[in-house]
């Protein structure tokens, strides 16, 4: 079945001749790239099914990986490569545009996980329950679906301004475009793309492989400590477990802890059962008290103590305690760290001990200069400790920097300004607590002032960017209006009078429905609409106040969506966490510091919205490069984007359920899924509740960002703000890519730098993404 649009180009009868061969690559399958009626294959059932299946699988897998390791992977490049494999390889008919539709859908379904896993697990960390039977689960899911739709609806009218007029680069989208075009780009470019992938894999392999671990042998422990693969404490714990296994016995207090933990789980289940007596709750508290009374043993790893109890009762083999999930040390695969490149020896004349300069961790060995994921050039050059100059081993950042080109230098400049000028200056001037060590300056400064100032700069810069682009936005909106009247510029198949974009009418209907859903979710979430507000809206009728909060959140989603799309378009970096932080703060200020559920729910809706907005714009950029009709991409993205939040939320609840069974904790420290990003947001929420937010710094940053945008380039504030807020290691690698681009253009010419640099860098981006997905899959499959 073909779902190609009716106005898709219908060639004259018989105009498609026998299987034409495109260039040197298409292999004489011209007819197979067209539908039975001869129209060019674009939106087809196979592309839709492929996109949904791949997107759903990636979504669930990346949600788990994100909760476990703390970062997510953008799926477009992977979906594009898989699209070739499935649509062109297995089905032997996918066209470039059909594969593009497949990757558009896959990334739309997948992209929402980044927004949800950053926010929703915070509720679990803060002690709220979240299950399929909870009202808040469904309200949050609905809010995220509404957010996804709003993100798409809000960003569609800006396509012309961002892509046609401002010509934002969207490095990863450009890379995906290069992949999609590879079948017709000629053998040489395909080889360059493949070389890029191979180089990326070779570079990233030693950085990624150490994530794969096998259980270490007891004899290996000293060597692993020596190579700084595990800590002495890990080695001691492993030896302790080995001793238990050998003796077939564990200390009584550990066994007792395990017994109590199992009793606690049973008591919790009984207390949560329908119609449970009050005494069930009291029993839970009593057992908790007895666990606390155990003292030191109470701090033992819960799953290990449970396993020890089960082994002592004969419920499992003692040898089964030899498991990394129970705290047994793991032996990582080979990585850069194993090169053993260290600082030179430098000893204190009096104590003969290594100086702090070469041995920051005080383990008696000079520190490693090359770790698995970064190279600390600053320490090699002998820079002061407070100046951070380390490069991430990240081919994707190098490739993204190259594809961004000269404009990316502003990001580099901002990073250098923050990490090599401002932070050391603040440290030297004594503006940091005396207890902050020089080598910890970067981390301290990031949370104390770089982040608020950087986010402020971003906001101010984005505001100025919008003001500067108002004429372009007005023209873009006129274009949409023309599309609504059917008088747009002939699109993909449309010819004159065809419509490029979705018109205002469908956007208003979809947006209106999404807004109503968001308002309803806001009305009934958390404490519900009957509870008085304590924030700025105190005194208002709670139902009205909650509706206002939802409307403010929707307005903020629009603005944040533009910021994120601009950032992604200019640099490939997406400050979602910063926007989520501001949303949560905004809602807590409006509703009161106690209404965490509503704040997190709207934060989640915003995160999902802005990730969908930037993903849609990136997909539209890829579509532009291959000549796809925007309206078709917009339709399939809006039609499928709601699937993502459902999958992510369900995955989180399933993971939390398993964790509760295993360790009595739904998520976070003490479980397999530590949810590092959510922990960061939890710290922010606690900070807001404790009055720690430096609001003025955000405002001052915004003023500087707006003024920066007054000059030649209205996006300057965005770029500088972004770089102050991102880790320096990635900024430097990214900046290196920008510099390489400029050098290549200088030596070989701009056209050569584009023609050969783009496929190579596309390879760098795709290679890392594929390898990271592969490594994560292995890690997850091995448990």
């Amino acid at each position: 079945m073909s779902t190609s649009s009716p106005e898709g180009s219908r060639p004259a009868e018989g105009s498609v001749q026998s299987g034409g061969q495109a260039g040197s690559k298409s292999g004489g399958r011209g007819r197979s790239r067209a539908t039975a009626s001869g129209a060019y294959r674009e939106v087809t059932l196979s592309a839709i099914v492929f996109g949904i299946v791949v997107g759903a699988v990636m979504n669930a897998a990346i949600t788990y990986a994100g909760l476990k390791i703390g970062f997510t992977i953008v799926g477009s490049a992977i979906a594009a490569v898989l699209g070739f494999g499935v649509l062109r390889g297995l089905l032997r008919r996918g066209s470039i545009l059909e594969t593009n539709i497949g990757q558009t859908i896959a990334s739309a379904v997948n992209t929402t996980n980044a927004g949800v896993i950053f926010t929703v697990p915070v509720l679990l960390l803060l002690g709220h329950s979240l299950g399929f039977g909870d009202r808040d689960f469904w309200l949050i899911t609905l809010a995220c679906v509404a957010g996804a739709l709003l993100g798409c609806v809000f960003i569609v009218p800006l396509r012309k301004q961002m892509l046609d007029i401002d010509r934002l680069r969207f490095p990863s989208a450009t890379a995906v475009g290069a992949i999609l075009k590879s079948p017709g780009a000629g053998a040489k470019k395909s080889i360059v793309l493949a070389v890029g992938i191979v180089v990326s894999v070779l570079l990233y392999l030693p950085a990624g492989l150490p994530a794969i671990k096998t259980t270490a042998g007891v004899d290996d422990l000293d060597g692993l400590v020596e190579r700084e693969r595990i800590t002495p404490a890990d080695a001691d714990r492993t030896r302790m477990i080995a001793g238990w296994i050998e003796a077939r016995e564990a200390p009584p207090e550990i066994v007792e802890r395990g017994r109590l933990e199992l009793a606690l789980r049973e008591a919790r289940d009984a207390a949560e059962a329908e119609g449970a007596p009050e005494s069930a709750g009291a029993l839970v508290e009593e057992i908790k008290g007895r666990i606390t009374e155990l003292g030191v043993a109470a701090s033992a790893h819960v799953p290990l103590s449970v396993a020890a109890y089960e082994a002592s009762e004969g419920l499992r083999e003692w040898s089964s305690l030899r498991s990394m999930s129970l705290g047994w040390a793991g032996r990582p695969m080979w990585g850069y760290k194993d090169l053993g490149i260290r600082m030179g020896e430098e000893r204190d004349a009096e104590t003969n001990r290594l100086t702090v300069r070469v041995d920051r961790d005080g383990n008696g060995r000079p520190d490693l200069v090359v770790t698995d994921d970064q190279v600390d050039v600053g320490r090699v050059l002998g820079l002061p400790d407070e100046m951070a100059l380390a490069f991430a081993i990240a081919p994707f950042a190098l490739g993204a920097g190259y594809l961004t080109g000269r404009a990316g230098l502003m990001v580099l400049a901002g990073g250098v300004l923050a990490y090599l000028v401002l932070n050391p200056l603040a440290f030297r001037l004594g503006w940091m607590p005396a207890t902050v060590r020089a080598d910890a300056v970067g981390g301290y400064a990031l949370s104390a002032f770089n982040r608020p100032l950087g986010i402020g700069l971003l906001l101010g810069g984005a505001m100025m960017g919008i003001v500067a682009s108002l004429p372009a936005i007005r023209e873009a909106l006129r274009g949409i209006a023309r599309a609504g009247r059917g008088t747009g510029r002939g699109g993909g198949g449309g010819g004159r009078g065809g419509r490029d974009e979705l018109g205002f009418a469908p956007l208003l209907v979809i947006g209106g429905v999404a807004l109503v859903v968001l308002i309803l979710a806001s009305e009934f979430s958390g404490a519900g609409g009957t509870t008085e507000m304590t924030g700025w809206l105190a005194g208002l009728d709670p139902w009205v106040a909650r509706a206002i909060i939802a409307l403010v959140a929707a307005g903020w989603i629009w603005f944040a969506g533009i910021i994120i799309a601009q950032c992604t378009g200019m640099t490939d970096w997406s400050p979602i966490s910063g926007m989520a932080l501001l949303t949560v703060v905004l809602v807590m200020m409006l509703a009161g510091k106690g209404d965490v559920v509503s704040a997190v729910m709207l934060g989640a809706a915003l995160c999902v919205a802005i990730s969908c907005a930037s993903d849609m714009m990136a997909d539209l950029k890829t579509g532009y490069i291959v000549g796809s009709l925007p309206r078709r991409q917009q339709m399939v993205e809006i039609a499928t984007v709601a699937i993502g939040p459902l999958i992510t939320m369900a995955t989180i609840v399933l993971i939390a359920g398993v964790n509760m069974k295993q360790s009595g904790i739904p998520i976070g420290p003490g479980t397999e899924t530590v949810a590092p990003q959510a922990q960061a947001l939890e710290a922010v929420i606690r900070g807001v509740q404790g009055g720690e937010m430096p609001y003025m710094l955000y405002g001052l940053g915004a003023a500087l960002g707006a003024l920066l945008g007054l000059g030649a380039f209205s996006g300057l504030g965005v770029l500088v703000g972004l770089s102050m807020y991102l880790p320096i290691v990635y900024i430097l690698t990214y900046g290196l890519g920008c510099v390489v681009n400029m050098l290549v253009a200088k030596i070989k010419g701009r056209a050569w730098a584009e023609e050969w640099g783009v496929p190579f860098c596309a390879g760098l981006i795709v290679g890392e993404a594929l390898l990271a997905l592969g490594i994560n899959s292995i890690v997850l499959l091995r448990g």
């Binding site: 034409g20 260039g23 011209g30 060019y40 300004l417 401002l422 004594g430 207890t435 004429p471 000549g627």
Partner: protein, 246 residues
Amino acid sequence: MKLGAYLLITICLVVGVVGALTAYLPRLDLPDERLIGLTLNDVAGKRPAAQGGGPIASKNDTITAPLLAELRAAGVGRVRVKEFGFDRWSGWWMFLLGCLGLGGGAVVVKREIRREIAASGQARAEGGAGPEEALSSVLREVAALRQRLGTLPDEQTRLRAIIETLGAAQQGGIASFVAARPVLLGRLGMSGFARLMDVFSAAERQVNRAWSAAADGVEAEATACLERAETLLGEAGAKLSSAASR
């Protein structure tokens, strides 16, 4: 001059940010009444190593007279607090100075860019290639390609011709036209530029689609897109000419 303005912007950004950093870092030599009662947002001070080397005050501690005295005696110059107050913000003048410099730098940069655009217009008038030339070269290539397609013997040759010609146009004329953005912006203003790019981008997308269709071997789609691209490029050229004549 432009380089000087960028330098000014950079320096003023540093000055402004340094000024902003002091917003929550009051100096401890301020009168007691301005400091007592404030809440620390971080640890402060450091005890001698003999006393453990820990901080003198903890986060969330309220500044009291004895604590203030202890911090001053330990040589602590500033502490990070939760409350903001203009009367405690020592770097306000640096922030203001930074803002003024950024504004001034922006004005100079804008003026220099206008001057450069005017100079480039002059150079074009004296025979240099400009956006008009880039646009008409793309239009000529597309038109010539459409004519040539009718003379080519088989589908494979026609598809190869489309891929090669459009590939060259994407790298050549289209890229040159896009690179002329500053010149076009200076000449047409943002609104005029937006109207022009609306048409040009529609044309470019047709070129891209024709390339993809040719790469996939779907000749009918490729030739239909070429026809639309030629029309739209002509429309863009007309818009540019009419804007130039005004």
